[in-house]
């Protein structure tokens, strides 16, 4: 089973078309194994990105270097998955 310990989901808000283009370029870098949950559409609209723990630093450095605003939407993906599983087990027992 694939685990997601330390993976985060970032909510990124590009402010202009140039930042959208930069994000699209970033999302194409296959080595980073990025999982786009919500694609960039227009300036001011959020785009959500799941980033594996091993790529987190590189992605955050890229965003900060280009002054692209972001927040952490999910701190640790695996924690949520564990809660989800626990809740399913509880329901099944009931």
């Amino acid at each position: 089973e694939k685990i997601f310990v330390g993976d985060q989901v970032l909510r990124i808000t590009p402010s202009d078309e140039e930042q959208i283009t930069l994000l699209r370029t970033l999302y194409e870098v296959t080595e980073l194994q990025l999982d786009v949950w919500r694609h960039p559409t227009s300036p001011g609209q959020p785009t959500d990105l799941r980033v594996s723990f091993s790529s987190l630093q590189a992605v955050k450095v890229f965003l900060e270097h280009h002054s692209i605003s972001y927040s952490i939407m999910i701190e640790n993906v695996q924690e949520l998955l564990d809660e989800e599983k626990k809740s399913m087990m509880k329901s099944k027992r009931i």
Partner: protein, 309 residues
């Protein structure tokens, strides 16, 4: 005897539990609900469709599907609640009663069963089908880029490792081809509503071009009404419009195929997002999500009933 009363709609369920529940629903409403198979998935799982019908032959019909992207668990869960609601409300709610007195509803709750099973066993984040791609170690095709409507262009990828890989050719995925064959052979489907998550949108054709659909005005007004009624319950704000205008150009989608094949009322939902969980919406939000979506679905279905074509 089995009863749907003991089923917990406020929890996520495995494919086996859901397939069992379908039989329970049929048992509980034998004169309204039946289950049939439209094909098999790549890994040979049955593709089940629930049929809600009060009789007649080849009546005009509404097609609903949930879970074509397997990791969007809130959609399959909303599908279960909605299917149950349709069955429970027939004879009580005047709108659903009027619809089912004249039309049939077909509902595919697990549209991508291989992907869904995989999200439970191996990778919760899996979105695509599980078909093997010749010449690539990457598995799966995005079934919402695999339809023969502007296939292979914008917003889809030719790279099998991409989450938006369109597949080798249109309808290459059995999960897609089975629906295509069913809708074509039925010949009287008047509406297709495909349910996704999670960015709170109600969308309609086109996705593959920015040109407005010939029925743009009517679809736009209907979408506006539906999202207004959806918001009435918890204040959940939806945006609406064509796929191309609202998100981005996306080729090969379900609703574009449906529209291009003469199904005027083709819509796709992106269900709720709290801004905190994305695809990992807690199960405590299943009922609120399904409940708020219901009036919007009813709006579309009633409009289809009242505007025969």
């Amino acid at each position: 005897g089995r009863s749907t009363d003991s089923f917990d709609f406020a929890s996520y369920h495995t494919i086996d539990e859901i397939y069992d529940w379908m039989d329970t629903l049929v048992d509980g409403h034998p004169n309204l609900v039946s289950k049939f198979q439209i094909g098999q998935s790549y890994e040979n799982r049955p593709l089940y469709v629930l049929k809600f019908s009060t009789g007649g032959s080849n009546r005009p019909a509404i097609w609903l599907d949930t879970g074509i992207h397997s990791r969007e668990w809130i959609t399959q869960a909303t599908g279960l609640w909605t299917a149950n609601k349709i069955a429970e409300e027939y004879g009580k709610d005047p709108s659903i009663t009027a619809i089912l007195d004249s039309m049939d509803i077909f509902f595919e709750i697990i549209t991508n069963p291989d992907g869904f099973a995989y999200t439970h066993s191996s990778n919760r984040m899996w979105r695509k089908t599980r078909s093997i791609n010749a010449g690539s170690s990457c598995v799966g095709v995005d079934p919402n880029r695999n339809w023969d409507a502007g296939f292979g262009g914008f917003g889809s990828s030719s790279n099998p490792c991409s989450e938006t890989y369109h597949g080798p050719y249109p309808h290459s995925e059995r999960e897609v081809k089975s629906i295509v064959d069913f809708i074509r052979s039925h010949g009287n489907v008047k509406s297709v509503i495909s349910i996704h998550s999670y960015s709170q949108m109600l969308l309609f054709p086109y996705g593959y071009t920015t040109a407005p659909a010939p029925d743009y005005q009517e679809l736009n007004e209907l979408a506006k009404k539906a999202v207004t009624d959806l918001a009435a319950l918890y204040g959940t704000k939806y945006t609406y419009g064509s796929i191309a205008d609202t998100i981005y150009l996306a080729d090969g989608t379900t609703v574009d195929w449906a529209y291009e094949n003469g199904i005027k009322y083709s819509f796709t939902f992106e269900l709720r997002d709290t801004g905190r969980y994305g695809f990992l919406l807690p199960s405590s939000q299943i009922i609120p999500t399904a409940t708020e979506t219901w009036p919007a679905l009813l709006d579309i279905m009633v409009h289809v009933l009242e505007h025969p074509y």
